[in-house]
Amino acid sequence: MKERREKILKLENVHKSFGSKHVHRGVNLELNQGETIGLLGGSGTGKSVLLREIIGLEFIDKGKIIFKGQDIQNLNEKELQKIRLEISYSFQSGALFDSVNVFENIAYPLFEHTKMSLNEIRSKVAEILEMVDLKGIEELMPSDLSGGMQKRVGMARAMIMRPEIILYDEPTAGLDPTNTKNVVDIMKKMTCLGYSSIFVTHDIPAALELCQRLIILNDGIVAFNDGPEEFKKSNDPIVLKYKQEVHYAGSEGEK
C-alpha cells in the first residue's frame, strides 16, 4: 500500500500564453512531501516555464499555484522572496554569478538571509561542496569550472538554504555519462534526505532511477501522470511517441 503523504504543492488549471502561443492550457499537478517527480515532454512544451511559474519568476494567465495553502500568484514580490527560500531553483545553465568566486556564489543566500558568522558560512559552504563532490574549489571562479561542475555548484547554491522543494531544470542536459552520474547521485542524496523535488529532464533513465512519479506535458496539459513502472509499460500513444522522440531504447525492452 502506498504511503499517504502531505501535498505541499498543487497546480490547478494553470494557463499561460506567450503572445499567440499557448504554453499551458490547464495544467494540474500535485507534489507530495518528500516526493521527486520527473517532468518530461518535448522541447517547447513549457516544462521550464512551469518551474518558473512555481517559483514566481513568471506569472500565469489563469489558475492557481498553491504552496502551503497560499496561492503564489496572489503574493507580492516581498512575499515571493520568502517563498523562494522554501522553493529553490537549480538553473539549467547553473546561472552562477560570473564576477565572484564559487564561495561567494554559494554563500550568497546565507549572507543575504541569515546572521551567520563568516566562519559558520565558510564551514557550511565547505560542507555542501563536499556533498556535491567538489571539495576545495571555493576560490575558483565560475569560468574556471567545467559545465558539469558549474551545474553542481548551482545545485549546491540552490540547496544551501535547506528548502522544502528543489526545482531542477534539466540538470543532466549536455553532460557526459560520468557527470550525469554525479548529478544523479547528488539528487538521490537529496531525495534520501527527504527533500521534495521536481526534475525537468529528457533523460528517461535518470528520471526512472530518481522519480516516484513521471509526468509528461503535451500540448499544454498533463498527458501522463503515473509511476515509473507504469511509464515503462504504458502503451499510451503520447508516451510511446515521447519515448521514440528521445530514443529511449529501454521502452522496447519493456514491451
Partner: protein, 255 residues
C-alpha cells in the same frame, strides 16, 4: 514618421523607467542596506572616471578660454574671459560635459554588465534566491552615480579653471592674481551649487536608464550590444533636455 505604436511604446518605456526610479528610492530606505556595494560602485564608476574627467575639464577650460579670448580681443574685452569661462564652466559646461562623457562610460557599462547578467539568467538567480535585483544591482549603482557625478563635475570645473589660467597666462599675458580674482568674484555659491545639483540629477538619470535597459536586455550578446548603444543615446538626450529645464528653474529661483 512617428506612428501610434512607437508613441505608445515611448510612454510605456517612460513609465517603466519612472517606476524603476521610485522602486529604487523605496528600496534605498528599507532594510537590508548594501553600503559596501555602494562604495564598491563609487570606486568603479567614480574613481575609475577621474582620469577622463581631468582630460575633458582641461580641454574644455583651455579651448573655451582660447576662443573667448581671441573673440573678445577684437572688442577689447579680454579681461572678461576669466568671468565668462568660469561662469560657463560652473553652471553648464562642467556638469553637462562631464555627465555626457560619464553617460558614455558608466551608463553603457551598467547596461552591458546587468544586460549580460540578464541574458545568462543571473538576474533570475538573484530573484530565485529570494533577493531583489533592484536592491542588489540598481540601488548601489544609483547612489554611487548620484554621489560620484558632482565630485567628478567639481574636478572637471577646477581643472577647467586651471586650463583657462594656463591659456590666459601664455596667450594673453594675464596675471594669475587678476585671473583668480575675476573667477572668485564672478562665480557665486549658487552657481557652484547649481552645477553640483545638476550633476547629481544627471548621475541619477544615467544610472536609472543604464540599469533599466540592462534589466530589459534580451536576445543574447546582440541584445547587450544594442542595449549599450540605446543607453548612451537615450541618457545623453535625456541629460540635454533635462539640463534646459533645470537651468531655467535655477535662473527663475536663483537668478
Amino acid at each position: 514618421m512617428i506612428n501610434l505604436k512607437s508613441l505608445i511604446n515611448f510612454f510605456l518605456i517612460m513609465g517603466e523607467i519612472t517606476r524603476l526610479f521610485f522602486q529604487t528610492i523605496a528600496a534605498s530606505f528599507t532594510r537590508p542596506f548594501y553600503l559596501s556595494r555602494v562604495f564598491e560602485q563609487i570606486n568603479v564608476l567614480g574613481v575609475g572616471s577621474i582620469s577622463i574627467t581631468i582630460v575633458i575639464g582641461l580641454t574644455m577650460g583651455s579651448v573655451m578660454t582660447l576662443n573667448f579670448g581671441y573673440g573678445l580681443m577684437k572688442f577689447g574685452g579680454t579681461m572678461y574671459v576669466p568671468a565668462v569661462v568660469s561662469l560657463s564652466l560652473a553652471r553648464e559646461m562642467a556638469p553637462l560635459f562631464t555627465s555626457l562623457l560619464i553617460a558614455g562610460r558608466i551608463g553603457s557599462g551598467m547596461a552591458a554588465e546587468i544586460g549580460s547578467m540578464n541574458v545568462t539568467q543571473q538576474v533570475d538567480a538573484i530573484r530565485a534566491l529570494g533577493t531583489s535585483p533592484v536592491r542588489v544591482l540598481v540601488v548601489p549603482r544609483f547612489w554611487a552615480s548620484v554621489i560620484s557625478l558632482p565630485l567628478l563635475s567639481a574636478i572637471s570645473f577646477i581643472v577647467g579653471i586651471f586650463g583657462g589660467l594656463v591659456v590666459c597666462l601664455h596667450e594673453f599675458d594675464m596675471p594669475t592674481g587678476f585671473y583668480m580674482h575675476k573667477v572668485t568674484y564672478t562665480v557665486q555659491m549658487a552657481d557652484y551649487l547649481g552645477g553640483l545639483i545638476k550633476s547629481a540629477i544627471f548621475g541619477g538619470i544615467i544610472a536609472i536608464i543604464g540599469c533599466y535597459k540592462g534589466l530589459k536586455t534580451r536576445d543574447g550578446t546582440r541584445g547587450v550590444g544594442l542595449s549599450t548603444t540605446w543607453v548612451v543615446v537615450t541618457s545623453s538626450i535625456t541629460i540635454l533636455i533635462t539640463n534646459f529645464f533645470i537651468s531655467k528653474l535655477f535662473i527663475v529661483f536663483w537668478g
